[in-house]
Symmetry: D4
Subunit: 250 residues, 8 copies
């Protein structure tokens, strides 16, 4: 569209309909991104593999339904995170094909289901209470076209549970470690594998966990070197980073 | 002594030298601890196995020498912590038998060397930088009459180093885990053993370790249940608690 | 079980049914803990005196009932902490023998009631508001087979209440001090006794208590040396450590 | 002076030299405090008992000497706090009567030495390392004309040391409690006496004392009700408040 | 009572009914406070002017009613703080003479209404939202027998409101400054008066007030020297300290 | 009024009805602000352009209605912030002309609608969730007589959205940047424009945003120099500062 | 230059030397800012009134001299902040016209000295220790072409010092308030004037000032509405904002 | 080796030299990792591409030299981080081939120089002061066999500097963003590219940057989804993660 404007401008100029100074003026005024709009669009596709993710927290069910409609009508797959059941029911009434992932609190509407990326993303949790955050990561990563394997409740208080799965860990292209309390699992896993580890501290715990500060600091200070960290409870963000890592590994 | 005062008071009263009201008044004024002085003294002996530990930080070498003299002349063993080499040299000039433990920054003068407690205290560190704090704990624990075994540099980044020593861990009556950075070692050890674990977070690390806050929170939120924690870099305190635990295990 | 597998493997090898390389391969693949399963099991028994504790916070009543059933059916005693009355009622419907400790918010189903450990665990609180945390500790410690004595509301604002019980304190093998507000009680008790003190800071207080940070810091900086600390409101954890300490004191 | 200006203004007005509007305009412009200058001065005398205290931190020795000269030449007593020996030497060269209180790091030049206030201010410390802060309080309180009694090293780790002096505590009009580490002494003293207690947390300690935050929070959350708190290491401020309290008690 | 026990003990001893060693043993075992019980009781009366204050937060209405009954039946005045209207109604049903101070959320039952202390306690607030905390202080101070004057909504955003009342401020024996947001009022008042100022930071504010941390730090760092601070929202504590200060000023 | 008092005083004095000393005494007693009352009043008008803003949080609907009545009856425009719909309905019943701005949670009653200030205040947000805070700023700024232009959802995750509006930004006299999460928008805008930028961090976000601390710190550390910051979620305050800046730009 | 490239491109296209698609491709690749380079340059001039400010902290004297040379040789005025005397001496050797402002720790080389902006920037400090930060602001504001008036040591502990200068305050277009300790001055000034107030918290203080956190929070929570805040000790930043505000007031 | 032990054990058993129970006992005692030692070794090679990195902080020059010798003599490349010039000189005396990277404070001894990974790691900084941390990352990433491109001083205060290099950014496989102050660059870059972004907050800044906390929180709350974070100033760690990401992209 914008590129059309410029094209017409240039043709007019060539045909002598407008002077050079006018063309220069117009170009100077055109916002940069307008010039590159198409490219931007493409690189957004490349970047995420999907148009837009709806963060439902703080939005009314009606607002969410409206955005869902916009995405679905444009023929794209839809992912909504942090959605409660009330929001889901509102979406369901208009889009019977919508699927609710209760633990993950996410809604998806997907037409395509092939995996774009061949590599494996492994998602592991320290405890059972960390599973909702891990599930948000799992649904997101799968939605983005990744093969995902989940390994839950392998925290360091019983390290043999993790050790028993050492072989599985080594098959992953990238591992998402979801852990609350002291978050030690990220360091231990980081010391066992040869792929990047994305740590997701969770707000699971009480008292001096300070709603996830304890595992956050723990993961940032990991004595194993291959660990990077995202925000507390940010399963979605971890899956985004993991998918970007995995997308280059075919 | 104080008990003598009361005894005389009572005898005088019995002999009719002083009236009842006087006795009651005197007793009311006598400080409680005076009545129980001897008992207190004894229970201090029982509690620590030595009279007094000198915390040198913030004291001049001269002050330290004076307190050392007081202790040594009363025929007791002497332990001074957080002592720099200047302080040691000042002590050495007057007490050639003084021994300096450089990494632990402690000075000891001991006549007796038998172990009072039979059980084993194990002290393990995550990294080599944690060793000075661990050595403060080791010297203190030995001084208090405990058998001590040290196992250094077994942090979770290479968990096999710890696993290889699992058998050793199981021999301890109490384990002191000294760790900086993310302090994950305390949780991992806590999950492997059947004895109390005393966590000592250290200020080793930088940035978001916040001088030991990261491992402190980590250890307080340990997902393994048998872990209790002392102050950052407090090797001495950990050894005190460990010695009290160990002292009842003969 | 696992040890059976290895035994059979070795017998087959000895009998020439399988070659050496096969045996080596199998052993290498066997998880470490499998080799030591029996021992691990035993040491878990030794460590806790019971199979598993259910932390109810964040679990639905249905989930809790399922885990309770699993434990009870395997013939073991059951302890569930942080359980509200709704959860208790759900458990009660299936297990009429379940007992609810309202202040402690714990549910127990016990068949055995003998004390494994002879020593005494004393639990004291600074105020009446600290009692629920103390009760969690008491129920847990008793469940683990310890003799427990409770001494509540002896905070330092009226130090004579504590002094009056000095003799009682000296009978304990380990003392759990539960205190909110400024948490001074841990230091004072630590200075009066010759056994380890486990401090439990509570979130009792307001304003600058910061939900338990004030007593937490207070206890970590105790001027008495024999004090170690667990997480804020962690009565359960304190009882675990205390039981481990007490279990070696027969 | 200012009052003179107004007086003249009014006389001129009465004599018809200036119109009413002019007088109103002038009065409106006159700063409030100018009108009350003398009173303000007097109430500053009443408030502090001395003209001005020099806070030396961040001032060069030359700057301090200049202010000292200004105060001394106006015939008043002089108090300078947080002064190092270099500053003292600079002052001493010009004012041989200057006295340096080394532990308190204060300099005084006093002509009058009578006590203005009859009541007793008691200053007690938990440990020996808290003494410098306590000495700043003592010198300040004495300088302001109070009788002061010091009782050092009576921390709660050995509560009998404090108990032995219970009678002394009861004689005070106000007690300043100086304590680092966990600062429990303020609560304990607050529970033993019937006069206001001013808590001074000190930066003595390490690790989780966070340079005095631990005792600060401890004192703010005191379970004893008669305790108010000043800034960390603020011996001077505590003495100011205590002197104000004591000054009304003759 | 306890003193009776000792008296009888001594009489028996004098009469030769029990030997000296028995008396010494008994005395040693008697808790210190028992010996001084009467004195303690008296000094508690002196200290507070009333037997006990009920902190209702965290207590059920039934529990509060029970304690109220205990106090009232012993013939004493009763003060309960942090009481909601439900608790008040429960109290009212049994004690029709109970008065509820709605803003202060306190309940009182008083027979005596004379002022014990002659001096004036002034309570001022920065804004109208700080009034509930100030009212808790006012009711408490009056209950303790003090004359109280309230001056509300004189915050520094319109400093003339405070200045207009400068004369009033100077009449007080002690001033309680209740302020949220930035808490600047304490410093300003501290610079205007010659009596002690007790600062009460409130949790009024939002965002970077961090529930009262901003005014707390502000008051602790007051550039005026005569300011001491109590916990956030602690109107009761401020009144206690103020009453102790005022009680010596007759 | 006050000025009348002084005028009469002076006239009486001139007429010899009262002596000079009486006049001086009276003047000394008159509060400063009384002298300057009229001027103060005027400068309050200049400062804010309206008499008083009602901060509804913590006020009952009845209290708000009372204050609204007071303002409206005095013939002035009325602005109430942080008002919920219940409060609005209470106001509406008495003042049918009241308008509720739902997102901004503000109520206005305006008679005058002209813009006092000619310059433009631009308000931009990073995301859609920041809009309520921005709307509070917009309503406030318009109420104060400013032209306002809003540009929402131009956060840095898609920087081209902002770039496309670079020209618009340059037209503003002052820009209010409302952003939660990492708050980077303030720095980016600050680097693009030649007018002051007022940053408003919002509590939008979760985990390590710590209710707005992350964007607050971000804006305070802005690498662009023309940025100043107000409290978290303080749209009202930002509009006040912006209006003061804009008011001098006609 | 860049505009030349586009001009040539367009001419070539018009002359048929290159096809339309080539022109479009080239334009798309051209960075946005290149198109607008001249305009950007101009708006930078408008924005700051000078080319570049050197932040010396963390740069070697040699590095600073090199940048100074670059600026001076291009004929522009030079301002370097946070420069120590060693850096100044290095600059002085090459540029004898360089002036060092010792308290402000800034170096300037100025040819032009006229004021661009007519309005007055007033800079006030609470204490004498805040002066270095204020001086950094003053030198910066003057360098940017503003009239500046300084009013130092008018903190709220003696509020009359500020009141005496109320008239002066009202003359300013914008006021910079520099204050450490509790930072109350910003609120008080904000309540007295009708122009924007920029608060600069300083790290002056100790203990619970936490290196400037106390005044930072204080200023962010100002109960006066016209106050915005910059980073701790950021005199330079405050002057930038003030100059931007003032620059529109001719 | 260890596998040899087991082989011999099994052969002895088959030959009847030792009974089955002995074999089972021995196997149970063998550390798990011993069985897998060779594999572990290999996966460490795969993981890092080099044997060991020396973290020099807290090590004496002599200690560093010893470890360097150990690595070099085993024929491997050597990397030492956080090394000062004194340490470098000590290394240089024994290893003349050692290279010191002054800004990065790293020492390298490399024999092989080919790149193992084909993809590009781009490292960008917000300011010039962030360069040392970026250089640590660059040297580390190159040492690990990656192609690295550096783009320094492209902070968001002049966003056009970054935009001009948009094309370059798109060529990277992974981007390391090194930024202090408000750390906004990570979010902006994250919104412009389709590869993972590793944020490294730096301690560059002052006041409310709190030694890197501000950019750390900023990056953790990035509104762009593809950003993960490492510890403050941890250039080494960022390069490790980036290299792991890049290593799978050939």
């Amino acid at each position: 569209m914008d590129i059309d404007i410029i094209q017409r401008l240039l043709e007019n100029y060539k045909e002598g309909k407008i002077p050079l100074t006018d063309v220069l003026g117009k170009i100077r005024e055109l916002p940069y991104k307008e010039l590159g709009f198409a490219k931007v669009d493409i690189h957004r596709k490349i970047r995420c593999g999907f148009p837009e993710v709806i963060f439902c927290m703080g939005k009314t069910p009606e607002q969410v339904v409206k955005i869902v409609a916009h995405i679905v009508e444009s023929g794209q797959d839809m992912l909504a995170t942090r959605a409660d059941s009330e929001t889901y029911n509102a979406v369901l009434r208009k889009f019977p094909e919508a699927v609710y992932h209760e633990q993950a609190k996410t809604i998806t509407i997907r037409k395509t289901r092939e995996n774009i990326n061949e590599g494996l993303i492994m998602i592991i949790t320290a405890g059972t209470s960390d599973i909702p955050v891990a599930e948000e990561a799992r649904i997101t990563a799968e939605f983005m076209g990744n093969k995902v394997k989940a390994l839950y409740d392998v925290g360091v208080a019983g390290i043999h549970r993790l050790m028993r799965n050492h072989g599985e860990l080594l098959k992953a292209n990238v591992i998402i470690v979801v852990a609350g309390m002291e978050g030690a699992l990220a360091s231990v896993v980081g010391g066992l594998v040869d792929c990047p580890v994305i740590g997701v501290p969770t707000s699971i715990g009480y008292g001096a966990s300070f709603n996830g500060v304890a595992p956050l600091l723990s993961m940032l200070n990991s004595c194993a070197s291959g660990v990077a960290v995202v925000n507390i409870d940010n399963g979605f963000g971890a899956a985004c980073v993991a998918s970007l890592i995995n997308s280059k590994r075919e």
